[in-house]
Amino acid sequence: MAGIDDVAKALERVPGGGIILTSIDAIADWSRGYSLWMMPMGTACCAMELIAASFSKFDFDRHGSIPRPDPRHTDVMVVAGTITHKMAPSVKRLWEQMPDPKWCIAMGNCAISGGIFYYDTYSVVRGVDEFLPVDVYIAGCPPRPEALQDAILRLREKVRAESVSPGRARTIESILPLPSDAPRGSGGDAE
């Protein structure tokens, strides 16, 4: 499959091709957004809330999100919990086993930055974005299942902007400034 982008470009030149492309995109993005199957990468405390999310009270099946333990069948990896140096290769391996297109939710402070385990510890990876491209971050220690629900909805918005040909993906406004946008030296980081 040499370059789906090339196919997309060729199709754009054909009269009406753009309409076909956007229709395909619309179908693909809509279906992906409403069928985000989770790879529950629960390692620690947040895993409890991840379990709660798909269980009776919160029931993420309502949103079409079901947990599948097999990475090959899933779309979004929810990294819930602390990732240690010993665990990180396995997480990366599982991420590589997931078929494209795939997304990653960093659930909880440990997955975002190491959280409470940021300082003084020798074995914790400080944030899963050290080795995975994270799409949605959920703060909390642990976040409530409702926060994960919000993350699924946010991710759905993000998925809608994507395209079957990666070159055509639209950018969406981030609701928060990206770390690179922040003026240097003004942060109140205690380091």
Partner: protein
């Protein structure tokens, strides 16, 4: 049998263990030399201390203190056996032959403190990856990856 009776019994049966025995925080506490650890542990087991609760160590700079917490279900008393091993040659006899429970505890102490247990059937790292360098719970452990917490106090 409470702790004081135990102490009397200990003095009568094992005169050499008697002076090492004291009672602190509801447990019997016994300080032995590292060379005599195994025989003291065997005596304790013969006395009815059938459970090994934990094995741990504390880094006191010059040497490590090893702490074995034993428990007797029959007498309903706990017992802490302490021993000191020098930092230069941290090695002590394993008690896995007395209590199989010591297996993982000793591996953990080996992993985090680098104290070797002679006679242990399978002394490998248990918590950290096999290729980890150093023993993190030692006070002098340095790791460039560690970010020190700013000292507000």
């Amino acid at each position: 049998m409470n702790l004081n009776e135990l102490r009397e019994h200990l003095c009568a049966t094992y005169p050499d263990l008697c002076p090492l025995f004291s009672v602190e925080f509801g447990d019997g506490v016994m300080q032995v030399a590292s060379s005599g650890l195994h025989s003291a542990a065997a005596d304790m087991k013969a006395l009815g201390f059938d459970m090994l609760g934990m094995v741990t160590a504390v880094d006191f700079g010059e040497d490590f203190e090893l702490i074995y917490r034993l428990r007797s279900r029959e007498m309903r008393v706990g017992m802490i056996v302490r021993t000191r091993v020098p930092r230069g040659n941290p090695s002590v006899a394993s008690v896995t032959d007395l209590w199989p429970a010591a297996n993982w505890h000793e591996r953990e102490v080996y992993d985090l403190f680098g104290i070797t247990f002679e006679g242990h059937p399978d002394l490998r790292r248990i918590l950290l990856p096999d290729d980890w360098v150093g023993h993190p719970l030692r006070k002098d452990y340095e790791d460039p990856g560690v970010i020190r917490r700013p000292d507000y106090l």
